[in-house]
Amino acid sequence: MNRWTSFNKFSLTLGFGFLYLPILLLIVYSFNESKLVTVWGGFSTRWYTSLLENEALKDAAWVTARVAFTSASIATVLGTLAALALTRYTKFHGRVLFSGMIYAPLVMPDVITGLSLLLFFVAVNLDRGIVTVILAHITFSMCYVAVVVQSRLLSFDRSIEEAAMDLGATPTRTFLQVTLPVIAPAVVSGWMLAFTLSLDDLVISSFASGPGATTLPMKIYSQVRLGVTPEINAVSTILVTIVTIGVITASIINKRREVQRQRDEQAAFAQG
């Protein structure tokens, strides 16, 4: 029975057209000679060269890179621990509260999270700057990491952990040599997700940040409010390209590892 009908192909074409056309237009018009974003004036890379001279934008990019790298790394550790806590310890005091606090930030409107973090930083007398932005980003992105790692842990065959322990491995060694390699792809995608979430965030950063810590989205937003310019198209194109290359590379690597792992398992079974 074939349900791969022309209606289905039609909806996919339309759907993906809708998803990708706006981004494609944005990329194409970043190479526009004309200053007008909607009128084609010939091919040019002048907006990319003008980006190189924009010191404020470069500063913001540097701040964003540091924030994203630091917050993603810490969020990955915290999120992985949270995922372990949720899947391995089914009974502890406050588990309902804990899982609630993991899922709530996924849907919480940014304005609420941003405002509450800002008021918290003021209440504890923490000067607003790059540190507070990093703390804020860790808080929401660790929940995404937790969800990604948790779904991998749930499909994880725990008997191989038990086998390692029966063979005399300590729990720490079991975790490092058995559990971690299996969940590693999920941990890596968790890190990447945390990194891009931090790279994208505007609202929470605007609340949590202070003088001297302007992130790239904050800078882009303030320029967008003044009007659409090809320069913003150029920055956006660079960001989109980085994320796309990152996501595709990661998925190819994950796919290869998965194939390799299946082969290894089959080989192991064949020998046994």
């Binding site: 029975m1 791969w4 209606f7 289905n8 996919l12 759907g15 993906f16 809708f18 990708y20 706006p22 981004i23 237009l25 944005l26 974003v37 909607t38 915290l78 999120g79 621990l81 949270a82 372990l84 806590a85 310890y89 406050g94 804990f98 899982s99 609630g100 606090m101 993991i102 899922y103 709530a104 930030p105 849907v107 919480m108 409107p109 940014d110 304005v111 609420i112 405002l115 509450s116 973090l117 008021l119 918290f120 209440a123 703390l135 860790i138 808080t139 660790m142 300590t170 720490t172 994208d200 609202v203 609340f207 989205p217 882009i220 937003y221 967008v224 659409v228 956006s236 989109v240 994320v243």
Partner: protein, 301 residues
């Protein structure tokens, strides 16, 4: 010794992320609640009373006696706020329905696609989700402007004679929400539809159902968990959305996220913005609880 180390490790696995979220997620809400009961002041921080630990018991009494519900009463008196809440929920609700209508055929087609192309299709849905929200909203400004791409095409085709005014209206906000949140709708729908047993539909058709009846009586009810998850994943954040109404909406667009932002950054009224946030949270508390419930159930299976 090893057992002791292990015990400590086990505890840390729970305590570290738990503690982090308690301090940086839960405690801040109590602070927002506290400040929503304060008065605006021209000082830093711009509210009174400020709780002074050094003043001891009297300080606490003094502090409690100064708390008031004035900000919440103010919210009910100024019709602007009430209208903003109602219009946020309405816009978010209908935009979410639209997202469902657009997303369902996509998810359905993905689930019917040959097994070999599914990972690629999935990748194509996920990729925009990774791409900056701000950039994706920004891309629509150039499309919807009076001299933008959409009007250029429609004028060229002779379908219209004057440019349509779409940017800075609620229509643009709807388009923005559907576009930005589409992956959040498609992913849970796809995962529900993919699990569906195809033989059930064959059985329904063998028993005399038309294709549409089979869809409506078998496929759709079985995909309901995905519909609910997708609906909540879009509706809740869309209600408090700031970027879309700010960049694509106009003066007619009243949305509470924008109101909160303006109260905070333009009027610098911290107690009122806190009260706005608390009421928004109350509006969303039921959908958020439903979402958490659905998530916990899904993970349990």
């Amino acid at each position: 010794m090893a057992r002791l180390v292990n015990g400590i490790f086990n505890r840390l696995v729970i305590a570290v992320p738990f503690g982090w979220l308690l301090i940086l997620f839960l405690v801040p809400f109590f602070i927002v609640f506290r400040i929503s009961l304060s008065q605006t002041a021209i000082a830093m921080p711009p509210y009174t009373p400020v709780f002074d630990l050094a003043a001891g018991w009297d300080g606490l009494k003094d502090f409690l006696s100064q708390l008031s519900l004035d900000n919440f009463i103010y919210l009910t008196q100024d019709s602007l706020y009430v209208k903003a809440y109602i219009s946020s929920v309405t816009i978010a609700f209908f935009a979410t329905l639209l997202t469902l209508l657009v997303g369902y055929p996509i998810a359905y087609a993905m689930a019917q696609a040959p097994r070999t192309v599914r990972p690629t299709l999935l990748m194509l849905v996920i990729l925009p989700f990774w791409t900056s929200f701000l950039i994706r909203v920004y891309a629509w400004i150039a499309i919807l402007k009076p001299e933008g791409f959409l009007n250029q095409i429609l004028l060229y085709l002779g379908l219209i004679h004057e440019p349509l005014i779409i940017l800075n209206t609620n229509v643009a906000v709807y388009i923005g929400i559907v576009y930005s949140y589409l992956p959040f709708m498609v992913l849970p729908l796809y995962s529900a539809l993919e699990k569906l047993d195809g033989t059930l539909i064959e059985a329904a058709e063998d028993l005399g159902c038309t294709q549409f009846q089979a869809f409506w009586k078998v496929t759709f009810p079985l995909s309901l968990p995905g519909v609910i998850a997708g609906f909540l994943l879009v509706f809740i954040p869309a209600t408090g959305e700031f970027v879309i109404p700010d960049l694509l909406g106009g003066s007619e667009t009243l949305m509470i996220g924008k109101t909160l932002w303006a109260e905070f950054f333009s009027n610098r009224d911290w107690p009122i913005s806190s009260a706005v946030a608390i009421v928004l949270l109350l509006v969303l508390v039921i959908p958020i609880a439903l979402f958490q419930n659905a998530q916990t159930k899904a993970q349990g299976e």
